[in-house]
Symmetry: C2
DNA sequence: GTGAATGCAAAACCTTTGCAACTGG
DNA sequence: CCAGTTGCAAAGGTTTTGCATTCAC
């Protein structure tokens, strides 16, 4: 519950928020800590349920607001792989998302060994700020495990 | 309303559907024609509204069913760029989607001049079936145009 | 002090489902 | 004929909104 492991990167979360003109509220800090503590790629609902455990008065609207603030200041990524709830991800390293068509689970795929991936040839009037790469397929043997333990990620 | 320009690719839509064990209903053909006729990246709602003009009895559930069938047999792509409705796209050439943070509009970005983009180094237990690349940023001068004429794509 | 953020509940939005009737193969 | 598909309406899940209160700066 202490904030001294915040944030993952060198800069402080509060400073990051301030840079974007966003206020450093206890709710935002809490939502960020919750997200860091959750494995995989939780939905806003999952973050909410977990956040309530230690901060029962927090509301869904605040969780959405906080997640948006965290995305805006660049410490959280938003993941849209299909219909259904948007997922959130505190892993800010360069990676793609693999979504299993069978079990629905989302896995991080490192891009360090995938040279040139971000080199997309874009018309000059487009200013690209970020690139999301989503892979779809089957996670085969991994899926056998996750299929039993989890439903849809 | 004739189906002789169907489908875009060489194979017939009906054959494609049959290959996946899906039936070639008039609704599915109609939804596909509507999608081919719509520019940009319509949502299911937009397809529905347009489809109703020439087939007033068609229902939203059928539009979703048809779009799913078309995606399943590989003649339509499903596009998820943010929260909000899933978009659909009849352009099956290899391309990424650029989503403007300002106007929300989605543009196709050709990948022909972007070598090696699909070369993502994936753990061996993952079988990749397709790759979606979504770019986010600003469409600058283009945005000035589309911002007035359209709302959110 | 003041505008931004919160909490709550309600509304809005998007998608799926259940079921009887229909239809393609 | 029969399983797959449709249309309808209702339910389900996700996200946003309005507003009074509270809080960060």
């Amino acid at each position: 519950m202490v904030t001294d492991h915040l944030p993952t990167s060198g800069e402080s979360l509060n400073k990051r928020l301030a840079e974007k003109g966003l206020r450093a509220t206890s709710q935002r800090q809490h939502v960020y800590e919750v997200l860091l503590g959750l494995r995989d790629h939780p939905s806003a609902e999952e973050v909410f349920m977990r956040a309530k455990q230690s901060k029962p008065e927090i509301s869904m609207a605040t969780v959405y607001n906080s997640l948006d603030a965290l995305v805006k200041c660049g410490v959280v990524r938003q993941v849209n792989v299909d219909r259904g709830a948007t997922l959130f991800c505190s892993n800010m390293s360069e990676h793609a998302h693999f979504c299993c068509d069978d079990c629905g689970k989302v896995f991080d795929v490192d891009l360090k060994n995938s040279p040139r991936v971000p080199e997309v040839d874009v018309p000059s009037e487009f200013q690209v700020r970020k690139i999301d790469i989503a892979l779809h397929g089957r996670c085969t043997d991994t899926c056998a495990d996750c299929g039993r333990k989890e439903t849809i990620a």
